[in-house]
């Protein structure tokens, strides 16, 4: 394709420099960063107005150029001519498609002819409606900066997104159809999307303004979205009802939905059917009366995830706030103890902590069960964080958590969202080791003197240690456990197969009626229910191994067998705070 010819043709339609590059199909970001310099290569050496002399007047120059081209076309009876005519409201201009074929040579040769009767009120690009035109950007910069100053993200990169007027789709289609008409071999697919061009031009300059480096959305966690609206949008999109009457006849059956009639989707659908003739007849590329304007910006940081393991030393502490009928049952929780120092670190409003932090753990222990050893794996999701915590800060957070004495967190480290899968999977698949303090409640038939105080004998211990009800080498005791009564009101009634994989009992010489158990169980085993048998609902119970009634007095989780935090790959690149502005 002759890029120069496309450039000149787009100019003639009233496109801005950046849009010309888009239609040519230029994909180098640098081209858009400084489109006015880049386009000089498409200009003839004998151009009367070298762009270099006019750097600060790009828009004016381009408008001027397009007027010149418009004139050349007009003298040759072109569709674009009609567009220019309509831009000054000459209603009698009638579509005259294909009446004359104009080759690019004609355009070029007529480039310098100036049309006295064509004057645009505004030098707004007919395609992007000014979105890509720099003089439109100052208010965007300011709007973004205001939000960033308020939120105070430390991330020194950002990704840039655009919510552009839907009217630009209509106009893009019109320009593309003109191009195909002019250059039959033109491939509409080469068009560089508006949002890409916007990123490469606006994004880079915004970076300089806000002191951050533009990066891709896949890399930078900070996303800045700018919303640009075009006031004449609805009026212009009305065209589509003539272009694609059948589509909108159906849609307008729900009349009350007039405003949402034109969605990005419906407009795209309608445009699939559009022809150059129908769009030209409807004056789709009329000169805009106003430019699209920045109406808002949104800044959001992707959530970050911290991983750690908590040790719970209290038998009076739930994992999450325990609230019954609107009232707290216990004053604190593991979750709140961990959130506390983080809330301070991020300077979040304490009321806000619940909304900003999410606690995710590999299962939970009962309020009265301690969790010792290396602790239970957990993660915290922090939404819209202002920054990643430094290793130093995470250490301090851990210290502050641990100083309270009820919960110990030795370390925390940043992880990715994908790592959470392991945490959830671990909850369902990984075995746990418990220590239980148990009591023998009745004489067994092996006890000689049933009037003597109940004592745990070495034979009792041996019986427990040798007990099995399976032939499997991995499983020591296969259990059938009904949903425990304590959770039966909120969970389905089911009988689950669970396994005790290892079991070792030991005497406690100073307490002859007590004995200690260490056991490893499959995920989801109800240890307390196994110990007391829950009225026969969990079977076989500990009593079956001991051959006497038994109960559990205290339970500790000694190990949750899940590697966590996940083995560290390349650690996330430390982000230095951005240089200060001034």
């Amino acid at each position: 394709m002759d890029q120069k010819a496309i450039y000149k043709f787009c100019k003639s339609l009233g496109c801005c420099e950046a849009c010309c590059l888009r239609y040519i199909g230029i994909k180098h970001p640098n081209a858009y960063e400084n489109s006015k310099n880049y386009v000089t290569k498409f200009r003839e050496e004998n151009d009367l107005e070298p762009i270099s002399t006019d750097k600060n007047m790009t828009i004016d120059v381009s408008a001027h150029t397009s007027e010149k081209n418009g004139a050349s076309i007009s003298s040759n009876v072109r569709n674009s001519d009609e567009i220019c005519d309509k831009s000054i409201d000459t209603k009698e201009s009638i579509t005259n498609k294909g009446s004359t074929e104009v080759d690019t040579a004609v355009l070029d040769s007529n480039d310098s002819v100036s049309p006295p009767h064509k004057k645009r009120k505004l030098n707004v690009c007919v395609s992007c409606l000014g979105v890509l035109q720099e003089d439109n950007w100052q208010e965007c910069y300011q709007m973004v900066k205001e939000i960033l100053d308020k939120k105070g993200y430390e991330c020194n990169t950002f990704a840039c997104a655009l919510s552009a007027p839907i009217a630009t789709l209509l106009r893009e289609k019109a320009v593309t159809l003109h191009l195909v008409d002019e250059f039959p071999q033109y491939d509409a697919k080469v068009l560089t999307p508006l949002k890409e061009a916007w990123k490469w031009s606006f994004g880079v300059k915004l970076g300089a303004y806000i002191n951050k480096i533009l990066d891709s959305g896949a890399i930078s966690p900070l996303l800045i979205t700018v919303n640009i609206d075009y006031v004449d949008e609805l009026q212009e999109l009305e065209i589509l009802k003539t272009v694609s009457p059948q589509l909108f006849a159906e849609r307008s059956k729900q009349k009350r939905r007039f405003v949402t009639e034109f969605t990005r989707r419906s407009v795209e659908q309608a445009l699939e059917l559009a022809t150059l003739w129908s769009l030209s007849a409807a004056d789709a590329l009329r000169a805009p009366h106003s430019r699209a304007a920045c109406v808002g910006a949104a800044c959001a940081h992707a959530p970050i995830f911290l991983a750690g393991r908590y040790i719970k030393l209290s038998r009076n502490l739930p994992q999450s706030p325990w609230i019954l009928e609107g009232r707290r049952v216990l004053p604190s929780s593991v979750q709140e103890i961990i959130f506390g120092p983080l809330t301070k670190c991020y300077k979040f409003d304490p009321e806000d902590a619940d909304r900003r932090f999410k606690f995710i753990a590999a299962g939970r222990e009962d309020v009265d069960v301690r969790c010792l050893g290396d602790g239970r794996p957990f993660a915290i999701e922090i939404s819209d964080p202002t920054r990643q915590l430094t290793a130093e800060e995470m250490k301090e957070v851990c210290e502050e958590i641990s100083n309270g004495g009820e919960v110990i967190v030795k370390e925390m480290s940043p992880i990715s969202k994908e790592d959470l899968v392991q945490l959830k999977k671990g909850e369902e698949t990984k075995s746990k080791t418990y220590e239980a303090l148990c009591i023998k409640l009745s004489h067994s038939k092996f006890d000689e003197d049933h009037n003597a105080p109940i004592r745990v004998t070495q034979e009792d211990i041996d019986r427990i240690n040798s007990y099995t009800n399976t032939t499997s080498k991995e499983v020591k005791i296969a259990l059938q456990q009904k949903t425990p009564i304590r959770v039966l009101h909120r969970r389905p009634l089911l009988t689950r197969s669970r396994d005790i994989l290892e079991l070792t009992a030991t005497l406690i010489p100073e307490h002859p009626q007590l004995f200690a158990l260490r056991l490893r169980t499959s995920a989801g085993t109800y240890v307390k229910e196994w110990a007391h048998g829950e009225l026969g609902r969990s079977a076989p119970a500990l009593a079956a191994a001991l051959r006497a009634r038994a109960d559990l007095l205290a339970l500790d989780v000694r190990a949750v067998h899940l590697a966590w935090p996940p083995a560290r790959r390349a650690p996330p690149a430390p982000r230095a705070p951005p240089p200060t502005t001034s």
């Binding site: 030393l313 038998r315 010792l372 303090l437 009564i485 039966l488 389905p492 200690a516 007095l553 500790d556």
Partner: protein, 177 residues
């Protein structure tokens, strides 16, 4: 040992030795059901509105040492085929205070009914009673419970409040357990 489990609880605190049912349930009693003397039942209320149906220790059943059978077919309803689905326990048999859960049939051909004593949904019959009916006599307040029922919070609370508690029960039956 670090964080020794023995040191983590107060072994002198009697409450840690409470039985499973005493730890989690409040016992309530209904005496002379249907005007039959010592036709006494015990309802054990869990704080989560689950209720267990048991025979009260003063029930005349315990005075008869004869052999017995338990029959869970009440008219056309087979209590053993009760099935509840999902968290909401859909499909459970609806119960009113007079609904019979089980019939005790003595060897001599006489029998008596065990009513459930409250409005609610039948969740579960103690299936162990089918193979081991003797646990009804041996462990009436634990493994020999008869059924698990669920009712609304309001109904559970109201029923609990209007029935005899354990102390009142002891006074009324004037016996020691």
């Amino acid at each position: 040992m670090e964080y020794n489990i023995l040191d983590s609880i107060d072994l002198n605190d009697k409450s840690i030795y409470k039985s499973f049912t005493d730890r989690y349930f409040s016992k309530r009693y209904i005496l002379n059901v249907d005007g039959i003397e010592n036709n006494d039942i015990m309802l054990m209320f869990h704080s989560n509105r689950i209720t267990l149906l048991c025979l009260a220790p003063s029930h005349f059943f315990f005075k008869n040492p004869d052999k017995y059978n338990l029959n869970f077919t009440i008219g056309k309803v087979d209590r053993l085929s009760n099935l509840v689905k999902g968290k909401g326990k859909k499909g459970g048999q609806m119960l009113t205070p007079k609904s019979t859960i089980c019939k005790v049939e003595w060897n001599d051909g006489t029998s008596f009914d065990i009513p459930c004593g409250m409005k609610g949904t039948l969740i579960e019959i103690n299936e162990n009673l089918v193979n081991n009916p003797e646990i009804l006599r041996e462990q009436p307040d634990s493994d020999g419970f008869i059924a698990i029922m669920l009712s609304s919070i309001a109904n559970s609370e109201a029923t609990k409040n209007e029935l005899l508690n354990h102390e009142e029960y002891l006074k009324r039956v004037n016996c020691s357990i």
